[in-house]
């Protein structure tokens, strides 16, 4: 059985393929397309078809195509799962020690407490204010003329981080402009932003009572090593016995979770003799 997971995020489309045979699960492939002002639904179809073609498959070979994120409108889906459900499952797949998840996407931050099966026990989201999001960090790095993959290493070089507003992106951007004019170094600015965002996310973990164990960071921001360090600092400061970790495939956690839940759901429906048909 082949299942697919498509995570339509605010900044990127992630698609994965899984093969399930004799109780074993094999991850066949993945694709990550930045949206960059393109039609997200068309991009999903494109990513999905390219991924299938890479593995000599067609849509008809897929038993269950599961969407997540903003993918409710993808017309070729079999079913849709919500982000907290899929990120929890994806995180358990990537790191079985996971007890909580921080989904750090382009627009939202989301904390999820999970059990070892990927069942969501509790969750909270940040408000829609962009100062807690990857999009904000991306904007700032562009203003500072820093490439995205340089953000993490530079942040780690900070010796005296400057704190920015953690409430509002507009105020935070003003803070950054002031810092630049005051001659604050880029590492200290970036670290300040990381700490500000990390503080908000750590509070979310405390709210959902994820106070110990491993927290796997997912979403695009999880690959920012400076952010992970800042998060661990914030967790320490808040006396939470949580270890924040990232996985190289963290951005795919939602899509992975969708594909795995799709397989689970298919088997469940098969037992109930009530299969949905993938179009």
């Amino acid at each position: 059985m082949i299942t697919a997971g498509i995570d339509l995020g605010t900044g990127a489309v992630k698609a994965v393929l899984f093969k399930h045979e004799n109780g074993k699960t094999e991850w066949l492939g993945k694709r990550n397309h930045r949206i960059r002002q393109r039609d997200p639904l068309e991009l999903c179809a494109q990513a999905y078809d390219q991924l299938l073609a890479e593995h000599g498959l067609s849509r008809d070979d897929v038993t269950y195509c599961a969407t997540t994120g903003e993918g409710e409108n993808i017309d070729f889906r079999t079913g849709h799962f919500y982000s907290m459900t899929t990120h929890a499952r994806g995180a358990i797949y990537l790191d079985p020690d996971t007890t909580s998840v921080l989904d750090m996407g382009a627009l939202h931050g989301r904390a999820v407490k999970t059990d070892s099966m990927g069942k969501v026990l509790n969750y909270r989201m940040t408000s829609q204010c962009a100062s807690g999001s990857g999009q904000f960090l991306e904007n700032i790095s562009r203003y500072l003329g820093i490439a995205q993959d340089e953000i993490g290493p530079l942040s780690k070089e900070a010796d005296d981080p400057e704190v920015v507003s953690s409430i509002c992106a507009v105020l935070a951007e003003t803070d950054v402009i002031n810092m630049v004019s005051r001659g604050i170094s880029a590492p200290n600015i970036l670290k300040g932003i990381h700490l500000s965002m990390a503080g908000r996310l750590a509070k979310l973990l405390r709210v959902i009572k994820a106070t110990d164990g491993v927290c796997l960071c997912t979403g695009g921001l999880a690959l920012d090593s400076g952010m992970i360090d800042a998060l661990n600092e914030s967790l320490d400061k808040m006396k939470l016995k949580v270890e924040a970790r990232a996985h190289e495939d963290s951005p795919y956690a939602g899509a992975i979770g969708a594909a795995l839940w799709g397989a689970y759901r298919h088997q469940k429906l098969q037992q109930q003799e009530a299969l949905a048909q993938a179009s």
Binding site: E72, G79, H80, Y82, Y264, K268, L269, A276
Partner: protein, 386 residues
């Protein structure tokens, strides 16, 4: 017409807060009269027999800006009476010859009194229904109520409402109810072909169109919808409960569907399905209507239930009949009947291990993200853990 064209027409009717279709119906013949009514139920057969159009007034929806209406109510009152006053004060109901205010709650009862003061030339009636279901008590009372309504409408129209005309109207509404039942059955059977958006708009069309035209629309839609071949999604089957009076915005219904739920039953516009079976056309028509109300009518929080153990039984039987996997209690903010009954209903659901969630809305609710999130996570929990 295709199903899309039918639904487009229904949506135009739904969005028209000036009730152009009803105005045109009335303008076509000077002897015609229009009687407005509020949820949940009035016997439309009596208006029909008097050559009147019964016009469902379900508030102003999310497009109407309420200015006058807010001045009449405290902040802890629901929105439907405010927007109904707005409809009246803004002249949108100036062609309506009378208004019926059924027994839903104190707010609507008070609205009937306010309407009398605001529109003294209009025929206004608070339409009470029995709270005793014995034929010789509640039945006699209800027949007398129906007779008073009949006489009031005769006076308004200047026409005698004969038993024969009433029997004919009962027969036509029997067809309408049968078609609506068929529509609900069809949706429960193939929700991928018959969306809740469509069912809702088809029901709404019945609020403003003559019943004969509504019957034609329903027939045509079902003929076409049954032949469609839309993909079956892996959605869960849920029932919406608590939305019998103030209506949710259409976007809310769409959001629940989009979040992965097939709505297989609901209590929107219960008037279309209030009488559960065919009303006999032989014999005394008012007695037949009264018996149908007493013994074969739907249930809602707005209907008095004289035995506590019976509360929720109707919902439970609907869950079983529709093979629903969960219930979403969606009630308007400050809706006393729905919100007071909700704890009893949720208790029933717990007793029978039926998954359920609750939220509130107003007819002008605009933020659908929290609704999508709630309905979506509910759908996930049913699909994966139920």
């Amino acid at each position: 017409m295709s199903t899309a064209e039918i639904i487009k027409r229904c949506e135009e009717l739904y969005e028209d807060t000036h009730f152009t279709a009803a105005r045109e119906w009335k303008a076509a013949d000077p002897s015609r009269r229009v009687i407005g009514y509020m949820p949940v139920y009035v016997p439309r057969e009596i208006m029909h027999a008097a050559n009147m159009l019964s016009l469902g007034i379900l508030g102003g929806g999310d497009k109407l800006e309420v200015i006058h209406g807010d001045a009449y109510y405290q902040s802890y009152i629901c929105r439907i009476p405010r927007s109904t006053i707005e409809l009246g004060k803004s002249g949108r109901l100036d062609f309506v010859d009378g208004m019926l205010f059924p027994s839903i709650c104190d707010v609507i009862r008070n609205l009937s009194g306010m309407w009398k003061l605001m529109f003294p030339s209009s025929y206004v009636r608070y339409f009470d229904v029995p709270q005793n279901y014995k034929d010789d008590v509640g039945g006699n009372y209800y027949v007398a109520e129906l007779q008073e309504l009949r006489e009031g409408l005769e006076k308004l129209s200047g026409n005698k409402i004969t038993d024969e005309a009433l029997r004919n109207s009962i027969a036509i509404y029997n067809i309408n109810r049968a078609l609506i039942r068929e529509l609900y059955d069809l949706r429960a059977e193939m929700p991928h072909n018959v969306s809740s958006n469509d069912v809702y708009l088809l029901n709404r069309a019945g609020m403003v169109l003559p019943v004969e035209e509504h019957n034609e629309i329903l027939r045509e839609y079902m003929d076409k919808a049954a032949q469609q071949d839309n993909p079956v999604r892996d959605n869960c089957r849920i029932i919406i409960n608590g939305s019998f009076c103030e209506q949710p915005p259409l976007n809310l219904i769409r959001s629940v569907e989009m979040a992965g739920c097939y709505i297989v039953d609901d209590d929107y516009m219960l008037i279309n399905r209030w009488l559960l079976n065919e009303v006999p056309v032989d014999g005394d028509p008012l007695e037949n209507l009264a018996k149908a109300f007493l013994h074969e009518s739907a249930d809602s929080a707005a209907k008095y239930c004289d035995r506590e153990e019976d509360v929720g039984q109707y919902l439970l039987s609907t869950v079983r009949e529709r093979r629903a996997e969960g219930v979403i209690f969606a009630a308007p903010s400050f809706c006393d009947p729905a919100l007071l009954e909700r704890p009893m209903l949720t208790e029933r659901m717990k007793e029978h291990e039926i998954p359920h969630i609750s939220f509130k809305y107003a007819e002008n609710s605009g933020q659908m993200q929290p609704i999508r999130e709630q309905a979506g996570t509910f759908a996930d929990s049913i699909k994966l853990w139920s």
